[in-house]
Symmetry: C3
Subunit: 364 residues, 3 copies
């Protein structure tokens, strides 16, 4: 079991410290598989709290009746709530000693999750590369979320820069995995049952625009902004049982790099997704995340705005019920997005928080 | 579908903006029926979060066992949670461009709602009157909340002052509906099954006082006060999927009329209702809201107190199980209510937030 | 029904005030039994909100699948959530007029609680002792939480210093009950079904350490700290329907002893318990609380840390599935606990918030 090595100076007499320290860079080996604590039954309680924290309005996730009408057995759990729960489980083993979260890739949603399902998570180390400083290294990890019967609901790769416990520890050799620039459309849709297009009520869903109404290159300002409070992001991040210290501990962070608690990057993703309802109301399912960058950190008191661009469109093999839009959604801080901020003089616009590249499904 | 007119300057090339702008005054016609997004399955998760946000203690809504003993199949959802969910749905279509919410009338609860029920909302425009400035007009709307089988759970009228998109748009002619001063007692009680008076346990319910113990003119100080935090009202208002911008966007509101986020008026109603338990513990069901005024705005950091007066009493035709009290409940800010603040020198007392006139049912 | 005596000056004409004032010292008699309002059905919604507020990660309470595998019918409700709900019910009758909560003893968890169970509470006055000032007295109360069928889930004794309404009221005579220093191990475990040790998955549970791995005298730093926000403790305390004014009313508390809202003592207990996962992940059930002191008050903005010491170990008669650890868990404010703060020069260390003595069960 990883993360239970005694930390320096923590042994007292004969007793080994019971406190987990998490993995440092040199604790990982390519091919290593880590089974994460804690299994989690997702309930309608989690769904309600997620609604209260972000305010998503997508009809499929909001209404059992709407979901049943189009072919789901009931309303599925919001895709991002599933993502955050799986991600949260990986934190104590993978990123508790991270200097930085560097990126995501190849994230696919593989089965719908319903209230009552229990989610576990497992990670495999797929790459390691020590940095030239020898103080840190980059670990590439594929994490998988499963239901209690072992069926997969989600998988994704992320890479993080990890501290070494001991600078002199032997480098593992460089293994950098090849990661896809984007998830292939042919592999999308496993988490979306065949839907009854005729039963999909556009008025209830909140928009008249179907898959066919969007064009590549089209940009959409999501208009509204929402201000984030400390209590909100803390409640959300604990709901996912994510223990990353930087989100919760003002005593320590007051002396840290930012002087304050850093908000979990996934919080921005969920805020942007909820804001994107205004313009993308029928993008009812996130099928995959191709990649994403947390361009700058978010702190409480900031107001988050968002806009999206249609990067691509794809039909799914054998399916005439839904099509896939490839979207870039950009979140910005304290800055309305009517002019679609992204770059400023070749650099990232300083207001940009998030630049997310993902596939959504829409009814055709 | 209303609210998807392209906004000025938002068309880019051939593509129509996908962003909903909501209706402006001239978009509405008397007799127009608007089916609102998003259907919402209310769950025990919503109930728990509502409890955490307001702390109501009415036994019927708190305990399945208590509710079953007196004749409900299980604990019904708090009446105000149902109201807020229905109200929230109407916001994007009815009041997103409102200058002010002017009033409510004729609000009746028509059927109990239980966890698992899915709620939809529809509104009919029943009146329009342009203001002499020609910049705004008043719209009167009857909104109805329904279960998935179409049965009604709630209806109410509200009127709002709406901006015009174009000052030169033709006035619609004046249609001002006649609204009742109060809901007639004979029409109350549809959302309350016949209750077993003998099984209604006064000790568990928290008060020895039944319908017969209250007198017209009696006033009750609810004693306690509760301070509101930004995170609390934002979580509550998002729980209802209410998107009114003024509640969430500090970046914009900092430059606005108040310099800060305005708390949803329904938040005050729920706070006052929860406080009213102390003195009205057996007023277990709100049967109707006759009218109400948000006398002054509420902001985070304020402490809300409340008091009530019995305005009237009524028996319900054919029912000896419950009687109806007509109540005025007044909420005040940063001011204990032992002396029942309401008016000051002919004007509204500046501490008063809310003056609500409604019918509750109590066991006889 | 207690607590509905008219308060001084609150009678208006013929009408008795409907507002409950709670019991003062002289309202209580040894042997008196008080049935508390409000019965409460605990749901998965409450569980989710509790998770969001505290972030506990114990596998048994988090996962229906994990709980079922070891012998529960489903995931039980967190022990402390049950405690807080029962405690909350006693507040309006027992401690609304308290000057101070003085202590706890003899707290035992007697049956697991599952979502859907309805909890009631009853208290018996088991001791009274007037203080020499004659302005206050100490009341000893045994409170019991029951399911709707009357079966007990929890009992505990607490003692509080209560105001007298009338200084001249006759003293009741001194009755001070004998209270145990600790709950006897032989009486532990009623709320824990026989568990399948072989099915208890240590990797999923988050720690390799079983009962046998802990030694008396061992101390564990739980490492992490969490900063508390006003919205968080208010939401938690309302979730328990705890009405103690000092937690909610900034208008009054601004002029009070601390100048601000005091956080419910149980909030610290839940924070410390959640932090204790790191080092005590397999301590999946709190079987009893021997006693506890709130050493200093907690206010919003403070960061809470915790450490634990193993005070004792006990086998349970007839059970080879689980063993009991007697723990001291200490919470401290704005102070990491690597050096286990407790006393400073014979006095309490000024950083200490809580000193809790309790029994947990662990798989053998």
């Amino acid at each position: 079991m990883p993360g239970h090595q005694p930390a320096d100076g923590e042994q007292r007499g004969e007793i080994m410290s019971k406190t987990g320290t998490g993995n440092f860079f040199e604790d990982l080996r390519v091919g290593q598989v880590i089974k994460h604590a804690t299994p989690r039954t997702i309930t309608v309680g989690d769904v309600a709290l997620y609604t209260g924290l972000f305010g998503p309005r997508f009809a499929v996730q909001s209404s059992d009746a709407f979901a049943r009408a189009i072919g789901y057995p009931r309303a599925p759990v919001d895709d991002l709530l599933v993502f955050h729960v799986v991600f949260g489980k990986t934190v104590p083993d993978i990123s508790i000693n991270a200097v930085a979260n560097l990126g995501y890739a190849a994230c696919r949603f593989l089965a719908p999750v319903y209230p009552g399902d229990t989610i576990n998570a497992v990670s495999e180390v797929i790459g390691l590369k020590e940095n030239s400083s020898r103080k840190t290294g980059i670990a590439f990890v594929r994490s998988t979320g499963c239901k209690e019967d072992g069926s997969k609901v989600l998988e994704y790769v992320r890479w993080v820069m990890l501290r070494k416990r001991d600078e002199k520890a032997e480098p593992p050799g460089d293994h950098v995995p090849r990661l896809p620039e984007a998830v292939l459309p042919a592999t999308l849709g496993d988490a979306c049952p065949r839907i009854e297009r005729a039963a999909y009520d556009l008025a209830l869903a909140g928009s008249p625009y179907r898959f066919g109404d969007y064009e590549v290159g089209e940009r959409i300002d999501h208009v509204d902004g929402v201000t984030v409070e400390e209590a909100e992001h803390q409640i959300a991040t604990r709901l996912y049982q994510n223990t990353a210290r930087i989100h919760f501990n003002q005593f320590v962070e007051a002396k840290g790099r930012f002087g304050r608690r850093l908000i979990y990057g996934g919080h921005v993703i969920s805020l942007a997704r909820a804001l994107s309802f205004n313009g993308l109301a029928n993008a009812f399912h996130i099928a995959a995340i191709n990649g994403g960058r947390h361009v700058s950190p978010l702190f409480a008191g900031t107001t988050v705005f968002a806009w999206s661009e249609v990067l691509g469109k794809a039909e799914l093999p054998g399916r005439d019920d839904v099509g896939a839009l490839r979207l870039r959604t950009v979140a910005a801080k304290d800055r309305p997005c009517a002019d679609f901020p992204l770059k400023a003089g070749g650099e990232d616009d300083p207001a940009v928080l998030l630049d997310l590249d993902y596939w959504v499904l829409m009814p055709r």
